[in-house]
């Protein structure tokens, strides 16, 4: 198995852990952190292909990752603000109780 495949295995495992956590946990903050983990796995792939793909442009992967990190930071800020707003409404952050719009 060559190093690129090892990197891809690493990021696949990280993605799967994030997905399982986001699906399993009932806590708003932990679901958000599971999403972060999946995005990190995507960044890992960018860097792995930039490093190992023959003929990749010199700075492409790094710039991709920088933009992805910036977008993730914005997403985290809004997500945590939503969690705090949820806490103000129902005095906890359990997502199973956030069902006021349920039909």
């Amino acid at each position: 198995m060559n190093p690129l495949q090892l990197c891809l295995v690493f990021s696949s495992l990280l993605f799967a852990v994030g997905l399982a956590g986001a699906l399993a946990r009932n806590n708003g903050i932990l679901v958000l952190l599971g999403l972060e983990l999946m995005l990190n796995a995507a960044n890992l792939n960018f860097i792995a292909f930039w490093r190992f793909h023959p003929g990749a442009a010199p700075a492409t992967g790094v710039i991709f990752v920088i933009f992805a990190i910036a977008v993730t930071a914005a997403e985290t800020a809004v997500g945590l603000a939503l969690v705090i707003a949820l806490y103000r409404h129902q005095q906890n952050i359990r997502l199973s109780e956030a069902n006021r719009l349920k039909g």
Binding site: M1, N2, P3, L4, L6, C7, L8, V9, F10, S12, L13, L14, A16, G18, A20, G21, L23, A24, R25, I29, L30, L32, L33, G34, E36, L37, N40, N43, I47, A48, R51, F52, H53, G55, P58, A59, V62, I63, V65, F67, I69, A70, V71, T72, A73, A74, T76, A77, V78, L80, A81, L82, V83, I84, Y87, R88, Q91, N92, I93, R94
Partner: protein, 171 residues
């Protein structure tokens, strides 16, 4: 070289698994910070120093602190840190979904012939990254700046809420 990569991968994925299975939310967040630091170590290993710095500054520094603040703001007592147990069937089905996705991805990775360049990492200096950001990617940089500003303003608006004024607080 591969041994270092495998070590980084084991530490990162192990920290993530532990973080997702902990009952105490504070432990989870600290383990997540460790996992993000592991991803930063991978960036260093791959020769993307600038991405590693960004990862450490943004994730290990800023996002973990913001998440810790959110954890501490959204609890009422010490016991609140350990939320009630997740339903068993939900946990099992989530883990099964994760294993299924991992299996599909791993099969695809193992079954694809991937060409690898044997040479060293593409050398990229900070000056070069700055030139790329300000030159060909200037429009994207501006859009990201506007996005961050709007998102942070929106976060403030969402989190601040509209609390009724207490007349006794008025000077």
């Amino acid at each position: 070289m591969n041994a270092v990569l495998i070590l980084i991968a084991l530490v990162t994925v192990g920290a993530a698994i532990l973080a997702m299975s902990r009952r105490n939310l504070l432990h989870s967040v600290l383990l997540f910070a460790g996992s993000w630091a592991g991803v930063g170590a991978f960036f260093l290993w791959a020769g993307a120093e600038f991405a590693a710095f960004a990862q450490v500054l943004v994730y290990v520094g800023a996002i973990s602190m913001v998440v810790l603040f959110a954890v501490l703001l959204t609890r009422r007592s010490r016991e609140d840190l350990a939320p009630g147990p997740v339903s068993r069937s939900r946990a099992i089905s989530a883990v099964l979904a994760g294993i299924a996705v991992a299996a599909v991805l791993l099969a695809a990775v193992a079954g694809t012939p991937l060409a690898v360049s044997a040479g060293p990492a593409p050398a990229v200096s900070v000056r070069q990254i700055g030139g790329e950001l300000m030159g060909p990617h200037a429009a994207a940089l501006l859009v990201v700046g506007v996005l961050l500003t709007v998102a942070l303003l929106g976060a403030v608006v969402l989190a601040a809420g509209d609390r009724p004024e207490n007349p006794e607080d008025a000077p």
